[in-house]
Symmetry: C2
Subunit: 238 residues, 2 copies
Amino acid sequence: MRYELYYWSGIQGRGEFVRLALEEAGADYVDVCRRDGGEDAMMAILRSESVMRPPFAPPFLKAGRQLIGQTANILLFLGARHALAPADAAGRLWAHQLQLTVADLVTEVHDSHHPLAGSMYYEEQKPAARKRAAELVARRLPKFLDYFERVLVGNARPPKYAIGRGLTYVDLSLFQVVSGLRYAYPNAMSRLERRCPALIGLHDRVQARPRIAAYLASERRLPHSEHGIFRHYRELDA
Amino acid sequence: MRYELYYWSGIQGRGEFVRLALEEAGADYVDVCRRDGGEDAMMAILRSESVMRPPFAPPFLKAGRQLIGQTANILLFLGARHALAPADAAGRLWAHQLQLTVADLVTEVHDSHHPLAGSMYYEEQKPAARKRAAELVARRLPKFLDYFERVLVGNARPPKYAIGRGLTYVDLSLFQVVSGLRYAYPNAMSRLERRCPALIGLHDRVQARPRIAAYLASERRLPHSEHGIFRHYRELDA
């Protein structure tokens, strides 16, 4: 079966967490909005009155007749299908719990450049963004990074994966978190990385996996930019 | 088995979504932080180095030897155990997808009074809160409420539940959303409720369910206040 991934064209954004899982799984999928007319097709689904279980927002995944929305929920689905999650119920809940914590971090990173309104440009909310970004760098990122470091170290020594002895979608998402933060907050990360060597090690291992390495080198991997979630604005990363 | 719910004492907050499910299920549970020493016990778990699968933040639920964090994840667990979710896998994912959309709404409501930093008092970020709250009321709440209305109307006519023919934890959470928004943004809601009669009807039906009615009348139901997520500040609800 060929999956259809619906997400805004041109950015990594939340869709990237799904792309990484599809790529690692070697799944057959179409990134719909990168095709002509794809974004129109996505908007048609979002606006349709006849879709039975409509998503609130992208990304969403079409899997046969099922339409699945919410990034972490899509990964919950894909993880079970493609052996990217633990096999037992408790392990799956734990993986999902970690993914929801990644989702919280992603929202906070987004809000660091859009603290007042998603409908306004960054340039219209710069002073507020400066304050929110300062909070992110000083308090929130250390808290999140320390947490994920603890999870990795607590799982195995030497640390290898977030859960058990095999790769899960959580590891792929943690790779993306490090990749995004390095792009958006390079100064802050140059300091913060010292406190999370296991997380950085995980990032490097994921990056070197054959399918992920091939993906990252392909044109399917979009570049980081100031249109996505992880944005680099020098004034926010003093 | 007696569940242990860990959440900040004195507020409804995110814990309330879990409490409502436990109450409707007639589950045996302790609201740990409402007992003497409870909050210390919670902090000990959060800070412990020996907890195998540590939660990032409250609420979390202890179920036997399992420790489950992230509100929506706890509901995913409880829904399956207490027949508060569809029986089929696709239905469960759909319920969870809706719950994650509720979670997004809850975060946006929280950020309407804390747009700059969770570590600062509301009084220190009032001008920013005014802008963010204006965005919430003008754009985001209409979008969320229209969405849930559409889901309810799309599920059955006349609308009764969010999913299928039976009550799920999503319905309980939507009750709490309406209850919280009515408290926090009464002026805005007096206008917005006209666009979501099915959602208001659901709120009323959930409120009248025997176990929920008994819970709401008990001292176990904490009052809304300016310490939780749904806070009423007159200047944000012009």
